[in-house]
Symmetry: C2
Subunit: 270 residues, 2 copies
């Protein structure tokens, strides 16, 4: 799903993503990609195992290099979050600690409220294999835990970042949930549809479609309902008129041919 | 984020994920992992480029082998969706076609409504590089388009599947959005908190904390508010009592030591 439109102004900012001791640079690159898709561009790396910068991260970032270029590197988590006012830690299950736990969706609303007050937000992600320690969780104000299949919960690092970042993005996104995508046309107006239904009824009648006249209103209502469910565009109503013309011509053509054959038969029988 | 609990009954079923001509088997494995995290286990492969089954897919599935084992392989998209009643196509932007477009969240609600009627749901995902063709989109009833950063929209195949599957899962998930995770304790009751505040006020008074007596009610209300914001547990109230005891002992200890030194000073001055 590649739909980048470079003419669009980037939607950036948002919480700082703090990766604690990431083991593989490829994963750092995949995180950058996940982040930028959702308009996040601030990444901090705490003691990355393979050093920094690293070409393998760039190879996996699929063009999200601006996130990697701006990444800050720290020796400790404490230094990485020094200027953060509200810190979240992502983990599957907080153990032993008494801590507030939010879904990513609730956390997104929470973070946006914090940022609206002008306070800095950070989100901690633990190392790939070992995950978050209780020391890291204790440093955070709130835990984010992604609800997943209880019998199989195994997100990789970039997937965990993607879900948190996606909720951050969609929390303020105004894309209509349900739209009809059209190019160079518009929905048909009622008068256009009524005109189509009237013509269809006439042509069907001429073709002997209504064998039981008392069922005619019911049948027409059903056809009307079927065609309206499709939410026809003005262009499609015109196409439909064209189809009716072609089909009636086809019928006339067949009738004419039949009549011609009959006439020819009459002649040959003379 | 690994939180698999094998004792939990799996939450399975849901829409069939149809991958059209996936190029890399690693991606098929990553898709299986994304799916099972969100309780989806029905995968169909249309003409996978590297053949099927493939060990590289298993290596990337991180234990989600049951999805790969059950995967069905077809030669054409038409065969893969033959028994599907409502078909969705995921794409960044529908081109030219007039088609209904849903966000993943709206699509999840839509799919659950369809499945509740007992009808089969399928979701098409195009090949990694080329994406969905208009022929595939025309086969679908509805398009799913993920709202993303307009200046950088570049999900990989498994990420696109993850977001659709995650919305499917969360549409019926009942995890509370905001909870306090506690182990072996409970929230403190008001009587316990009031007892703590009363003792704190007494001890602070003894320590000369309230220098301006007229501000005492305000200061106590602020302290009360600060401590209540933390939503203390019963265990933490007891811990707090312990801290007060230790701090007052510490003060007494210091006072006693000071008095001892004074007495000793008096003696040595004799």
């Amino acid at each position: 799903m590649a739909g980048t439109d470079r003419t669009q102004a980037p939607t950036l900012g948002g919480p700082r993503v703090v990766l604690i001791e990431p083991q593989l640079s490829e994963n750092v690159g995949a995180v950058a990609r996940a982040m930028l898709n959702c308009g996040l561009d601030r990444m901090s790396l705490v003691n990355p195992r393979e050093g920094w910068p690293n070409s393998k991260a760039y190879a996996m970032a699929s063009g999200a290099t601006e996130v990697l270029e701006a990444a800050q590197v720290f020796a400790t988590v404490e230094e990485a979050v020094a200027d953060v006012s509200v810190l979240y830690a992502t983990t599957a299950r907080p153990r032993e600690l008494t801590v507030r736990v939010l879904t990513p969706r609730e956390a997104a609303a929470d973070m946006r409220a914090v940022q609206a007050r002008g306070e800095k937000v950070g989100v901690l992600f633990g190392p790939e294999r070992s995950g978050m320690t209780n020391d890291h969780i204790a440093l955070a104000d709130t835990v984010i835990s992604v609800p997943l299949n209880p019998a199989y919960s195994s997100l990789n690092l970039a997937q965990a970042v993607l879900l948190v970042a996606y909720e951050w993005f969609t929390a303020a996104d105004e894309t209509p949930a349900d739209t009809l995508s059209m190019s160079g046309t518009r929905l048909a107006e009622k008068q256009e549809l009524i005109g189509l239904f009237d013509r269809l009824e006439t042509e069907l009648d001429d073709g002997g479609f209504f064998r039981a006249p008392d069922l005619r209103p019911t049948i027409m209502r059903n056809l009307q309902s079927m065609l309206q469910r499709g939410r026809l565009t003005e262009q499609e109503v015109r196409t439909f008129h064209g189809m009716i013309s072609a089909l009636t011509r086809s019928w006339q053509h067949t009738q004419n041919a039949k009549r011609r054959r009959e006439l020819e038969g009459d002649k040959s029988a003379d």
